[in-house]
C-alpha cells in the first residue's frame, strides 16, 4: 500500500498501527506461554510427589 502512492499510501498507517499493537500482544503471548508451560510441568511434577 505504501508503494502505490497517493491516498492509499496515507491509509497504510492503519495496518502499521495494527502491526504495532499485535507485536505488543505477541510479546505478552510469548511470556504467558512460557509461564503456562512451566505451570503445567509443575502440575505434572506435583502428581509424581503425592497420591491423592
Amino acid at each position: 500500500m505504501l508503494l502505490m502512492g497517493g491516498g492509499i499510501a496515507i491509509a497504510s498507517i492503519f495496518p502499521l498501527f495494527i502491526v504495532f499493537f499485535i507485536t505488543i500482544l505477541e510479546i505478552a503471548v510469548a511470556m504467558i506461554q512460557a509461564f503456562v508451560f512451566c505451570l503445567l510441568t509443575s502440575l505434572f511434577l506435583s502428581e509424581a510427589f503425592e497420591l491423592h
Binding site: E26, F35, F37, T41, S42, F49, E50
Partner: protein, 202 residues
C-alpha cells in the same frame, strides 16, 4: 502498480529450517547444526550471560540486572513451585527455572524480525513436553511402584463407575503432554503468521 520488483515470498518462509553445518554421525544420524540449533544456543548464552553479570553472590539491595532476574524469572517460578509442588519439590526448582528462562528468552528472541523461533516447531516443543511427561512418569513409578495406578481413579467416586472413569482418565493422561507441546507450538506459530500477514498489508 508503479514498482514491479516487489519481493513476493511465502508466509511460511520464516519457519524454514536450513542446515548451516552438515554433520552426520554413523552414516545417517543427522546432527547437523541448523538455524534452530543456533537460536537455542543464543538463548542459552543470553541466560548464562545475565546470570554471570551478577555472579558476585548478589546483594540485599539488588543491582539492576539482579532485580531484573529476581522479578522476571526467579520470583514467579519460585512461588509457582512452592504452591504447586510443595516444599519437598523444591529440588526440582532449578529445572523449572531453567526451563522457564529458556522458553521465555527463546520466545522473545523469536519476535525480533529476521530471527527464527524454534518453539514454533512441534518437533522442539512437543519433544520437550513428551520428555518431561516420560520423566515424571518414571519418577512416580519409581516412588510409588504400582500404587501409582490408583492415580487414574478419581477420589470420591462410586466403585460401579470405575471401568469407564479409569479408561477416560488414562486417555486424558496421555493427551496432556500432546496438548502441552501443541499449545506452545500453535501459539507461537500463529502469532508469527499473524504478524507476517498483517505486515504484508503495509
Amino acid at each position: 502498480m508503479s514498482n514491479d520488483t516487489i519481493l513476493i515470498h511465502s508466509y511460511f518462509d520464516q519457519f524454514e529450517i536450513t542446515r548451516l553445518v552438515d554433520l552426520y554421525l554413523f552414516g545417517n544420524l543427522d546432527l547437523s547444526i541448523t538455524n534452530s540449533t543456533v537460536f537455542m544456543l543464543i538463548a542459552c548464552f543470553t541466560f548464562a550471560f545475565f546470570y554471570f553479570l551478577n555472579s558476585d553472590n548478589g546483594t540485599v539491595v539488588p543491582t539492576r540486572y539482579q532485580s531484573l532476574i529476581e522479578m522476571v524469572i526467579y520470583e514467579p517460578v519460585h512461588s509457582m513451585v512452592k504452591d504447586n509442588v510443595g516444599p519437598e519439590g523444591m529440588r526440582y526448582f532449578p529445572f523449572l527455572l531453567s526451563l522457564f528462562a529458556f522458553l521465555l528468552i527463546i520466545n522473545l528472541i523469536g519476535i525480533i524480525p529476521y530471527t527464527f523461533a524454534p518453539t514454533s516447531h512441534g518437533a522442539m516443543s512437543f519433544g520437550l513436553s513428551i520428555s518431561i511427561f516420560i520423566g515424571c512418569n518414571i519418577m512416580a513409578f519409581s516412588k510409588f511402584k504400582l500404587d501409582y495406578i490408583a492415580h487414574f481413579f478419581p477420589a470420591g467416586i462410586p466403585m460401579a463407575m470405575a471401568p469407564a472413569l479409569v479408561g477416560i482418565e488414562i486417555i486424558s493422561n496421555f493427551i496432556r503432554p500432546i496438548s502441552l507441546g501443541l499449545r506452545l507450538a500453535a501459539n507461537i506459530s500463529a502469532g508469527h503468521l499473524l504478524l507476517t500477514i498483517l505486515s504484508s498489508f503495509i
